[in-house]
Symmetry: C2
Subunit: 468 residues, 2 copies
Amino acid sequence: MLTRSALPRYGLLVLFVFLLLNTSSAQNQSAPATPAYEEVAKQVVNASLKDGRAYEMLQALTSLGPRLSGSPQAAAAVELTRQIMEQNGFAHVRLQPVMVPHWVRGPVEEAAIINSATLGSVPLTVCALGGSIATPPGGVVAEIVEVKSFQQLQMLGKKAAGKIIFFNRPMDPGLLDTFASYGGAVEQRGDGAVEAAKVGGVAALVRSMTTQLDDVPHTGSMHYDDKVAKLPAAAISTLDANLLSQLLQQEAKVTVRLRLTCETWPDAPSANVLGELVGSEKPEEIIVIGGHLDSWDKGTGAHDDGAGCVQAIEAVRLLSVCGLKPKRTIRAVMFMNEENGLRGGEAYAREVAEQKTRHIAALESDRGGFAPCGFGVMADSLTTRKILSWHGVFAFFGADRILPGFGGVDILPLSRQGIPVIGLVPEAQRYFDYHHSDNDTIDKVNDRELELGAAAMGIMAYLISEEL
Amino acid sequence: MLTRSALPRYGLLVLFVFLLLNTSSAQNQSAPATPAYEEVAKQVVNASLKDGRAYEMLQALTSLGPRLSGSPQAAAAVELTRQIMEQNGFAHVRLQPVMVPHWVRGPVEEAAIINSATLGSVPLTVCALGGSIATPPGGVVAEIVEVKSFQQLQMLGKKAAGKIIFFNRPMDPGLLDTFASYGGAVEQRGDGAVEAAKVGGVAALVRSMTTQLDDVPHTGSMHYDDKVAKLPAAAISTLDANLLSQLLQQEAKVTVRLRLTCETWPDAPSANVLGELVGSEKPEEIIVIGGHLDSWDKGTGAHDDGAGCVQAIEAVRLLSVCGLKPKRTIRAVMFMNEENGLRGGEAYAREVAEQKTRHIAALESDRGGFAPCGFGVMADSLTTRKILSWHGVFAFFGADRILPGFGGVDILPLSRQGIPVIGLVPEAQRYFDYHHSDNDTIDKVNDRELELGAAAMGIMAYLISEEL
């Protein structure tokens, strides 16, 4: 402690020291308003762990089955979500219609190595990539060529013509951030069919996007380019990808038959589902909180993104049961068709632009229902700094890694209108073990971790309402 | 920046400001040595994710079956661990003999509500608590009385005589720290049989220590007191505990038959397993890193504490493969008999005291193989402050919550000799879903999370070696 007698002599500098120390301390312990908000946060977290309903909602949602855009199950999910919002006292519950792509996997998807010199016939575990065309009824039968990159494929040139192109670059297990690892490999899935067509290939077979070695294929979106032929495209399990790769080292020629029966039907009617906790002082100012209601047609989309949906709804419910009355309106938006079209996110953003409703920020959970670690913030530097300064409120439950980062796919169109977007970041080491596959079921979700994510979302929405 | 011209005038105070800011900055960003250690840490983490062997070791260990002290499987685990250390180039691999308690569950454990007015006969899912005596061959048949606390039991007085005492206070789900929640309920399991005997009860039936609602009973240690009768004691699944509780509200008298066939055999020979990475400058100064090799006889002790064992071994292996040559000796110690006796931890500490070997610190992982969040440090204030100052080294992978806290059961005897002890703290929201039950199997362990914990242990051991 500086004594009083020092003041006359060093007055200004002492003040300077004091201010510096004080700033530093404030940075450490977060914004001045922290203590009160921390109490609010503790109340929300306690309510979530003690009387949370997110897991129960997720049980109901996943019991409908997978929720691929255009499917009857997706329609059921829309209606269930509407009912959940009504039952939990949300205001202004409504459906926002959107037309969505309607791709169906079809009854048969199969592949096999035929007539290997050493192994004979070997079935391979595959699944069609979302959006793929079917093969001819008897399947595509062709020699396999393995590549690790598009560059390597281009260098093969004519050698690749007539072949099934096998894209086998694994996700890099050495990266700490599994999303970065995914990002470093997923172009093979998205662009593989187009790149294969460019060199005259007849189909694309893509190593599943996971670091796990198992026999479960992982689907996901892919696209076509009107300038080149459309090729059927499938994912292959990592174990079978390794088998195929080893066989290609031993045998000069490995032939595979791939059969897919997918179809793309006309666009189908569907909807985003909206409901609100109306602001007590500025009801016309809106904070969006959401996830995406659709999933792939493998597993039941428990983590992707059933978890995000129930967390967003639960976040609003928690604020309400804790007796909090946010100044601004918190609007839960369950987006339709994130996986293969983004029609829901685009329709919502279009309405915002047309009606010029004032949006303060948008918050999404779409990285799995694991224990929350923090948030990614995508906003101007001033807003980002402000949101980052709230980390102290989240520290007591370990959700305080608030950093500049990605918000969410569904809220990206809002971001393009200059609206700050924020994404929940959970502990995601195991996310890609489940993602887009039969593994993504509710037994992989822990009730307490799911609830803590919901609490984090609720607290963030409340802080945005009161402080941004 | 302060300009040079300010120096003559405010010399001392500027220096003071500088020192203050510097201290503050060091606290924020951790010790001055951080950047170099952060590089080391990144190397270790990368190696763990890319070429880690912890999961493979855990597969081998859990494939032996559960490893209850005194069992043949525990003996197999000792030998396997010795071989793993030898194969991975550990120095001075040796077994440290210990005699351990030898309790066996016996072939039959069963319970049922008999002749309920509304339900008739209902089987209940139970398992003997570790150390329990058997019931008479035909079982104990008695009326049930439910209590939530020992105080409530004492107030029942004579009403409890001749009854099976049903301890049904749940773990508090509202607590964020699941270990605190466990700590608030586990006296029912540990002391229930003794308290039940004091009021003339005939058996103790204890609600399983988990916040999950399922039909899996969780075992764990209990003890007797020579001053009162020894009663058979069992855990009941949470679903059946709720059923029993509801029935007790509807019917005046609920009778249960409990049958256990446990036996306590003479103490059996067993061992701690030790191996070293010998220090390059001060080989006589030792840092212990370990877990406990024994488990309960339910599941395969994958999280408790197979994970901790393989993490400790992997931590040493990682330092070695990364080419790090710690100044001091890092000694991996796999302790025997943590669950029901602590003989291994005590034997190790006894040797340390007798041989006066210089121990710098001891580090244990025994809270599950989940993603690491930080460490608990139990040491004098100066040492604690020093270890806490290293948090910046662990921040990039989220393991930087280094706080005063519990070290580990096996290293507690070392702590009593004044040796600093440190425990790995992982994200443990799901730990008690598995703990001491058939649920604790390797499919609940994620390879990447397990490896990151091993990396965190290795980095901490290295920092202790170089900086403490």
